[in-house]
């Protein structure tokens, strides 16, 4: 046992020159996130998580640890449940109440305790051995000190520090994911509930037609065929309403799960309708650069690449590689208007493998760099796609609100005038009212899509991939684990 440790130490001793710069790097890294970390911090590093989360969701995440906090959290949950939920209060609720999120916050505690342990020497151990045989007894007493631990402590601390920081990012990442899921579920639940009302109106119109048609057939004014056609509309509308009703239940249950609500909290209220469409669509500035600076998955991947570098002991950072250096800003050419391009940067240290030239080290490092680049490329692409989806949803919702719905309404008014002149029948009037209602359902759906894509855009800009649900474990976590293993 002792032997191996010494050998490990020797292996470390072979490159003693690598110690000092490594220490410097570690110190710089620590200063970025945390000042001093040898002992358990009062907030367990959660302050950083809160800050990261608040910046990205507008809501404060809390970590429910088994103390008085839990009671005040419960009181806040009860308070929030009194009022119809808003998107923000739903996110706040989820932060307080989502058990999966709380579980992922606990990772932070584990990482911190690892970090603290890495900074302490193992207690010395005393061994007592007694060997007897061939009539002789040999008693061996020794006190063992963790010599290797002493020698590797700086490195272990660095690794654990990196893991701790990753855990913080990861916790914020989870929180942002839960917030996005919650907002999406919230908007879908409100919309689904609103749609039930309108499908109910469609059914009512169809029912009136069907009932009238039945009476028409009874008095001999309609053939069976004509009557059954009207009845078929009603039958379809009934099925449509049933589907809409289930959809409303399903969306509400999805929200219930994200809010972590138990069976005694199911009567939470949702508003009758979705929030209005904003006056104008946002035009995010430097969207892709924002994603590079803010996206948690990008930061994690970057940190992971750093950690790989450190744990490989590659200290000769000679230059910086900009893996995404493309484009340029404000190009001006004679005789032409200035064209604004954009510049996106994601800097990663590139090490000179010169002396070490270890194939494995280089490969491992390049793997981390490429993985980070891929995360960055995905992030930028997602920002562009999310913006397109957002913009389209905004324009569509506006089109429904300002064109389709009013037009349908005017058509209905004209149809009523035609009915007044006995130019069309009440059946055509009812069929038209069904179409008018479906233009409103079109608007509700477009408005829902807008709010969902708005959430997705915000998520893509500052948080994470908008496609992945928080309940699916993202690959960034695997990257973290890979980075930390060295």
């Amino acid at each position: 046992m002792m032997k191996t440790r010494i050998m490990a130490t020797r292996a470390e001793m072979r490159a003693p020159h690598s110690m000092r710069p490594l220490k410097r790097l570690a110190a710089a890294g620590a200063a970025l996130f945390l000042a001093g970390c040898a002992t358990v911090s009062p907030d367990g590093g959660f302050g950083t998580v809160q800050q990261l989360t608040k910046e990205r969701t507008g809501q404060t995440a809390t970590w429910q640890r088994p103390d008085a906090q839990a009671d005040s959290a419960k009181a806040r949950v009860d308070e929030l449940l009194q009022q119809p939920l808003t998107a923000d209060s739903a996110v706040e609720l989820a932060f307080l109440n989502n058990k999966g999120l709380q579980a992922s916050f606990s990772e932070l505690g584990i990482a911190e305790s690892d970090l603290v342990r890495a900074g302490r020497l193992r207690n010395p151990s005393f061994t007592f051995g007694r060997l007897s045989g061939n009539g002789a007894v040999e008693i061996d007493r020794s006190i063992l000190f963790d010599v290797l631990g002493l020698l590797t402590m700086p490195l272990a601390k660095q690794v654990e520090q990196a893991r701790f920081e990753q855990a913080q990012l990861q916790a914020a990442f989870e929180a942002v994911g839960v917030a996005a899921d919650t907002r999406r579920a919230y908007f879908s639940a409100v919309a689904a509930q609103e749609l039930v009302k309108y499908f109910g109106q469609v059914k009512e119109a169809a029912q009136a037609s069907s009932e009238l048609a039945r009476r028409m057939a009874h008095t001999g004014n309609f053939s069976k065929l004509t009557q059954m056609r009207e009845q078929a509309f009603y039958a379809d509308a009934t099925a449509q309403l049933a589907r809409a009703q289930h959809q409303a239940v399903a969306e509400r249950e999805r929200l219930t799960r994200l809010l972590g609500l138990g069976s005694d909290q199911l009567n939470f209220k949702l508003p009758e309708r979705l929030p209005e469409l904003p006056k104008s669509a946002v035009e995010p500035k430097d969207a892709e650069q924002t994603a590079m600076d803010k996206r948690l998955d990008v930061l994690m991947a970057k940190r992971s690449a750093d950690a790989v570098a450190k744990s490989l002991g590659l200290t000769k950072a000679t230059r910086v590689v900009n893996v995404l250096n493309f484009g340029y800003a404000n190009r001006s050419q004679t005789g032409e208007a200035r064209s604004n391009g954009y510049l996106i940067e994601l800097e990663l240290p590139l090490f000179d493998f010169g002396v070490a030239r270890l194939l494995r080290a280089e490969a491992t490092y390049m793997q981390a760099v490429n993985r980070t680049a891929q995360v960055a490329i995905n992030a930028q692409s997602e920002v562009r796609e999310s913006y397109s989806a957002y913009r389209t949803a905004f324009d569509l919702a506006q089109h429904y609100r300002d064109e389709v719905v009013p037009l349908r309404k005017r058509i209905s008014e004209e149809n009523l005038l035609r009915y007044n002149g006995m130019l069309i029948s009440v059946f055509e009037l009812l069929a038209d009212s069904r179409e008018q209602v479906s233009s409103i359902t079109g608007y509700v759906e477009a408005l829902r899509d807008f709010w969902v894509t708005d959430t997705n855009l915000q998520t893509a800009l500052t948080g994470r991939s908008p496609d992945a649900s928080a309940t699916e474990r993202p690959s960034a976590k695997a990257a973290l684990a890979a980075g930390g293993a060295h």
């Binding site: 109106q201 009512e204 119109a205 029912q207 009136a208 009932e211 009238l212 009476r215 028409m216 009874h218 008095t219 001999g220 004014n221 309609f222 004509t226 209905s412 004209e414 009523l416 005038l417 035609r418 009915y419 007044n420 002149g421 006995m422 130019l423 069309i424 029948s425 009440v426 059946f427 009037l429 009812l430 009212s433 209602v437």
Partner: protein, 456 residues
């Protein structure tokens, strides 16, 4: 008032066409008088040429002429016009001299006439003189007897009238479109001897039909038979003038049919005789006494009667033709109780009103908003309530005290004592009735006015 000079003076305010046409060559062209009022104009009493007894055009007028070296010269301008079908509805039509139908042309047997026709339509046209005996080259069939009159061009038709009677004029170039757009007019040839076929009042009008989608203003020219506006001189009741006469007047009504279907024209009150057909006058011994005469497509009919005091309905007997625009696919709602369903409908369509449960007469009484530029399907108020008529309907109003030459609406008829239907207020004993037939399973259940359901 009743002479040409006055007429032209009154029409002067609307002589917009004259200056435009003068470009063609004012020296050789008679002025193209135009008329845009939809009201009936007084008869044009001739001051030049042979004397005759002028006609009165229902909601129309007669085209003035000038004499030039013994030839009567007229100027017709084919052009787009806006015609008020009835108050509340104006339609884009094509017509002549500011109006559709065009002015009535009145001439006398033996007259030599020269008619200048200027085309201000966007497409080529001709004028065919329907029923008039003339040289083949004056018959106005584009391609067959003459080249078409291109837009902006003026053609001259010149012929001598050989026979008196009731005729028409209309295009014979793209006539489906042009007649669907209202290109037509009456052509009256008076007998050389004014005493021949003399009457006290001589009304003329054309039967025409349009398909104007409710809420629009231009007829659908491709409609074959399913028209929704049935008009006399492009006017629908209550926009049609009454036919006013004095008790005992000999009244003639001349009608030409340029629609796609026949019209059984029916007069209440006095019996009439058909005195003229497409070919001219009917000898006394061959005349048919009638109360309804069917005016088939492309035909002319003249009827005559002795006026009897009263307000006498005068209309086409195809019931749909005394309606204005109506839905042709609207199901019958008679006998269907809609009340509770209506409440449900009203939740979705707040301004919805139940109609048709008792029939369609509700329509004549309810004043409900309609699409723009659309006439109610039946309308017109009489002294006793809603008349419930539209389209090809008017009233022959005969009074004892109407002055000769006065065509003014005298108001509603004052019925002499004991000549007006009245309400019976006595008891209603159940009349003895034989047992009715019983329904079997193939008979639909029909709601009867009272009782009688024992058999079901």
């Amino acid at each position: 008032m009743n002479n040409r000079r006055n007429f032209i003076r009154t029409a002067g305010a609307t002589m917009l066409g004259a200056t435009a046409v003068s470009r063609v060559g004012a020296a050789s062209l008679p002025e193209a008088v135009i008329q845009t009022s939809p009201d009936m104009q007084p008869p044009l009493i001739p001051t030049t040429g042979r004397p005759y007894n002028p006609v009165v055009t229902l909601n129309g007028w007669t085209l003035p002429w000038r004499m030039k070296n013994g030839v009567k010269e007229f100027h017709l301008v084919a052009e787009p016009v806006v015609r008020e079908i009835a108050p509340g509805m104006k339609v884009n039509l094509w017509g002549y001299n500011g109006q559709s139908p065009g002015p009535t042309i009145e001439v006398v047997e033996g007259d030599r006439i020269r008619i200048f026709v200027t085309n201000k339509l966007p497409e080529e046209t001709t004028v065919h003189w329907h029923g008039v005996l003339l040289p083949s080259g004056m018959d106005g069939v584009s391609g067959l007897t003459q080249p078409a009159i291109r837009p902006g061009k003026t053609f001259v038709y010149e012929f001598v009238l050989q026979r008196s009677g009731t005729f028409m004029y209309h295009p014979h170039a793209d006539e489906m479109t042009q007649m669907a757009m209202g290109m037509m007019g009456m052509f009256i040839v008076h007998p050389k001897d004014p005493r021949q076929m003399k009457v006290d009042r001589d009304f003329v009008f054309l039967l025409n039909a349009y398909d104007v989608d409710p809420g629009s203003a231009t007829p659908k020219v491709n409609t074959m038979l399913d028209f929704n506006l049935w008009t006399w001189n492009s006017r629908a009741f209550p926009g049609i003038d009454p036919l006013v006469a004095r008790t005992g007047d000999r009244v003639r009504i001349r009608m030409g049919n340029l629609t796609m279907t026949s019209h059984p024209i029916h007069l209440h009150g006095p019996h009439f005789e058909v005195t003229g057909t497409d070919g001219g006058w009917i000898p006394k011994t061959a005349r048919w006494p009638e109360v309804t005469t069917d005016v088939a497509v492309g035909r002319m009919r003249a009827i005559e009667f002795d006026a009897l005091a009263g307000d006498w309905a005068f209309h086409c007997h195809k019931a749909h033709h005394t309606m204005n625009a109506m839905g042709h696919d609207v199901p019958t709602m008679i006998g269907v109780d809609q009340k509770d369903v209506a409440d449900k409908v009203r939740k979705l369509i707040p301004d919805y009103m139940v109609m048709g449960e008792r029939g369609m007469a509700d329509m004549g009484e309810m004043e409900m908003p309609l699409p723009d530029n659309t006439l109610p399907m039946m309308t017109g108020q009489g002294p006793f309530g809603a008349i419930g008529m539209g389209g090809m309907f008017s009233v022959v109003k005969v009074r004892d005290d109407v002055k000769p030459g006065d065509y003014k609406d005298p108001g509603w008829y004052k019925h002499p004592a004991k000549t007006l239907a009245y309400e019976y207020t006595g008891g209603l004993p159940n009349p003895a009735r034989a047992a009715g037939p019983t329904a079997d399973k193939t008979t639909l259940i029909v709601r009867k006015p009272m009782g009688g359901h024992e058999g079901h």
